[in-house]
């Protein structure tokens, strides 16, 4: 299961913030040490990793709060990667 979008996103966030104990439903922006600049990195990571282009109307912070919401966004943009 390590290759699901949710897991890949979690691995990326944990790699950048090793001190954080986060799961897929945790709001990473509510943790206090993640700022809006990281949101931009998340956009680039998601687009590059999953080969999608996120349309402007989806570039909202709410889509990037948790690994689950990001994976759901990926699923909307690329049905073949949709989380079961």
């Amino acid at each position: 299961m390590s290759n699901t979008p949710t897991q890949q996103i979690l691995d990326f966030v944990r790699g950048r913030y090793p001190q954080a104990e986060i799961d897929e439903t945790q709001d990473i922006f509510a943790l206090g040490f993640v700022n809006s600049l990281f949101a931009m990195e998340l956009v680039m990571f998601v687009e590059k990793t999953f080969g999608v282009t996120i349309p402007n109307e989806e570039l909202r912070i709410d889509n990037f709060r948790t690994a689950s919401t990001m994976a759901a966004l990926v699923g909307r943009l690329s049905p073949t990667l949709a989380v079961a």
Partner: protein
């Protein structure tokens, strides 16, 4: 409408050009080669797209980019009434740029020096128009920061200051007036803080994450000094500390050897993908 010249398409020049364009100003963005300029336009397109995500206004990238033209060489700003210069914080580089601008631009063109440390009076002295040279210390990322330091040089006229303040207001910036002094207010304090934080990492007292966490968790700062260094650019931090060291001839500004090594190694922070932290590439 007049076109505003933005010299230097690095981190600051790109931010200034975007901020001007998104507030309805036409801009000519100038640097020394085409590749830097095409990268700059790609960065502006990306940052404009991310604007709302970063807490800014929703922007149309095409509209913003339509207001920006590019040119190679400082002479590209010859027809501008006002030029904002953002080249590297290196005296020799700035001096050469001002010699070209002074020769190419009309006698009434105002030169705005975007610097975090270099005295405005010293820059003004290499031009034939010291009354029309004024300093503005923009903060990074420029479009997201609501205030700047506004610094008249010794000879700067009140008209030049007012004209610049009006432009800043139109860009959505509050000007905080500061007298001309190397490093002004912000960097006399910030650069020493970043430099000392780098010494703590260099000496093994704490790693970068721990240094920054002290500032975030204990002091409530939104970012720690080393994250800030990565945002500003580690190379720019080093140049700024060196400028302070040379200007005041005071050993309290001695640059941390780690900053020198990181600069030599290309670990310049967010813009190169690695500094005190590692970043996802685009």
């Amino acid at each position: 409408m007049t076109v505003i010249g933005v010299i230097g398409a690095g981190v600051m020049g790109v931010g200034v050009a975007q901020n001007l364009a998104q507030t309805g100003h036409d801009v000519v963005l100038v640097d020394k080669d085409e590749r830097i300029l095409s990268d700059a336009l790609a960065t502006i397109a990306r940052n404009t797209r991310m604007s709302r995500l970063m807490g800014g206004p929703a922007l149309d990238a095409d509209e913003v980019l339509a207001r920006i033209t590019t040119a190679v060489g400082a002479a590209g700003a010859a027809k501008c009434d006002l030029v904002i210069e953002n080249v590297t914080e290196n005296w020799e580089t700035k001096r050469q740029v001002y010699e070209v601008l002074d020769a190419e631009c009309g006698p009434d063109t105002v030169f705005v020096v975007n610097t975090s440390a270099i005295p405005i009076t010293k820059v003004a002295a290499v031009t034939g128009r010291p009354d029309k040279v004024v300093g503005v210390h923009f903060m990074n990322p420029v479009p997201a920061k609501p205030a700047v330091e506004l610094i008249p040089g010794f000879h700067t006229s009140p008209e030049t200051v007012q004209r610049t303040r009006d432009l800043l207001t139109a860009m959505g910036k509050k000007s905080i007036d500061v007298k001309d002094s190397c490093g002004f207010v912000s960097n006399r304090v910030l650069m020493l803080t970043v430099n000392e934080a780098a010494y703590l990492v260099h000496e093994g007292v704490a790693d970068a994450e721990s240094v920054d966490e002290v500032f975030r968790s204990c002091f409530g700062h939104p970012m720690g000094p080393l994250e800030t260094a990565d945002l500003i650019g580690v190379d720019t931090i080093l140049y700024s500390v060196e400028v302070l060291y040379e200007h005041y001839a005071d050993s309290k500004y001695r640059p941390c050897p780690l900053l020198k090594q990181m600069t030599d190694a290309g670990l310049h922070g967010r813009k190169t993908g690695r500094g005190f932290y590692t970043y996802a590439s685009n």
